[in-house]
């Protein structure tokens, strides 16, 4: 399975570098942004599997702004919010706007890795489901073409048969003429 590509967004350099180091050590692919504005710019040009963002950030774009931009850009990007202790209301607002999860400060790294594992599993399941669906679509398309060709062929043969039947029942022609005309159909 390919490692998740994670964008860490936090205006606090200490948290940012700690998160980045821990995630890199755990074999995730990591990039960082110093604030919401930079994050939004990065999200719009590169795909990230997960965006791990602080909720409160200066500079006009906070965690919710990052969440909205990520979701607008690609629905497959999952966003985990990092919130201050005791700010569950904010977290719930974020979840309602499509965040997959939230973490409280101070960050418990075991908890963070558990969340990421869950996201990875979910993405894996979704990929499986999508692969299956695509395989089904290919099968459906090819069998559809076959069935439709057969349908047209049968309809054409039926109409020819109808004509032959009409000719063979004509009384104004001799038996020989009927056969000749029928063969022409």
């Amino acid at each position: 399975m390919q490692a998740l590509k994670i964008l860490v967004v936090d205006d606090d350099p200490v948290t940012r570098s700690l998160l980045s180091k821990k995630l890199l050590k755990a074999d995730y692919e990591v990039e960082t942004a110093e604030n919401g504005v930079q994050a939004v710019r990065m999200i719009s040009s590169h795909f990230f599997d997960v965006v791990l963002t602080d909720l409160k950030m200066p500079g006009g774009v906070d965690g919710i702004g990052v969440l909205e931009s990520a979701k607008e850009n690609n629905l497959k990007t999952e966003v985990v919010l990092i919130t201050a202790h005791g700010s569950i209301d904010n977290a719930i607002t974020a979840m309602k706007k499509g965040a997959v999860d939230y973490l409280e400060k101070p960050i418990n790294f075991d908890e963070l890795f558990l969340r990421l594992e869950k996201i990875q599993n979910l993405k894996h399941l979704l990929k499986n489901a999508n692969d299956l669906r695509e395989a089904m679509e290919v099968t459906e398309q090819t069998s559809g073409e076959t069935i439709q060709n057969l349908e047209m062929t049968v309809a054409e043969l039926e109409s020819r048969l109808e004509k032959v039947r009409g000719i063979l029942s004509r009384q104004d022609l001799t038996a020989e003429q009927r056969i000749i005309k029928a063969i022409e159909c």
Partner: protein
């Protein structure tokens, strides 16, 4: 304050049927359905929905009804059957229908029919209307509309083709057997898994509004369609005549005999020069001789002889 608390303490649920705490991530072993129960339930499902479940596909009953059987706390499928049958409110019957019907649907599922609609059918229907009474509505019916994706895909095609002008009187009807499906279709909201596939991003942004993790079809598209519950096994008398009928991937669940009856009723419900579109892997050969298949590019549609 952990959101994903793996609380798995059934004692708190007060359900006597859950005797053992479940190991996390495991699925409770389903009750096995017995052959006589298969017969009983298949017959019942056929009666309420027309859906024919062969004895060899008994597993479908388990996978689709298993959850309902367990949430009702029934100890067997036989008991479940009697519970459902004796429920005079018909609430359980609705739940059975919701569970047994397949809601596999996508926006623009299989692009061909929608191309066909855009470049061939709608222009032709409009042309033929020009010579008739103009105010006679163009009627379109999605006969098994599930959660509405097909109907809204049609509506989007109409909108893009005809613009906002009110010059055309179009009636777009979606019907389905499942109350839950009709409810969702009427509400017109979809989660990210339903929206992610089939719908290009520009159309998503143009025709939907994002509302808390779901996407809701915009009012101008929603208002083009009407939804209602309808059982295709029942007479069509009250439903009127249509210029275009979509009946895709539903007859496959019926017996050949019922398919014949269904398409004969559809033939009656179609205007003389109307169009019928069925699923890409479906065929009317040996089902309804009143229709002839016609090809347009990569698609096939049917018209009355």
């Amino acid at each position: 304050m952990v959101l994903n608390a793996t609380a798995n303490n059934p004692s708190g649920l007060g359900s006597p049927s859950l005797k053992q705490p479940l190991p996390i991530g495991s699925i409770r072993k389903n009750q096995q359905i017995k052959p006589d129960e298969v017969q009983l339930l298949s017959k019942y499902i056929y009666a309420i929905s027309g859906i024919h479940i062969e004895a060899t596909k008994a597993y479908l009953l388990e996978t689709r009804l298993g959850r309902l059987v367990e949430t009702l706390g029934c100890s067997s499928y036989g008991e479940f059957y009697h519970r459902v049958k004796s429920d005079s409110s018909k609430l359980l019957e609705k739940k059975v229908i919701d569970a047994i019907t397949t809601n596999e649907t996508l926006f623009f599922r299989d692009a061909n029919p929608f191309e066909l609609l855009r470049y061939k059918i709608i222009p032709e229907v409009i042309d033929s209307r020009a010579s008739e009474a103009l105010n006679k509505p163009i009627r379109i019916w999605s006969a098994a509309c599930s959660t509405g994706q097909e109907v809204f895909s049609i509506a989007i095609v109409l909108k893009e083709l005809l613009g906002p002008s009110k010059n055309y009187n179009i009636q777009l009807l979606g019907t389905d057997l499942s109350d839950a499906a009709i409810k969702q279709a009427s509400y017109g909201a979809y989660n990210k898994f339903e929206i992610e596939r089939g719908l290009p991003k520009n159309q998503l942004q143009r025709y939907f509004v994002s509302a808390g993790g779901t996407w809701k079809i915009k009012d101008d598209i929603r208002s083009m369609a009407t939804f209602r519950k309808f059982n295709l096994m029942h007479p069509f008398a009250a439903i009127g005549k249509f210029d275009i009928i979509f009946c895709r991937n539903v007859a496959i669940y019926f017996t050949l005999d019922d398919r014949k009856k269904l398409f004969s009723k559809i033939a009656d419900a179609l205007e003389p020069n109307g169009f019928l579109i069925i699923g890409s892997t479906e065929s009317l050969t040996g089902v309804c001789p009143r229709f002839i298949p016609k090809r347009h590019l990569k698609s096939i549609f049917y018209q009355l002889r």
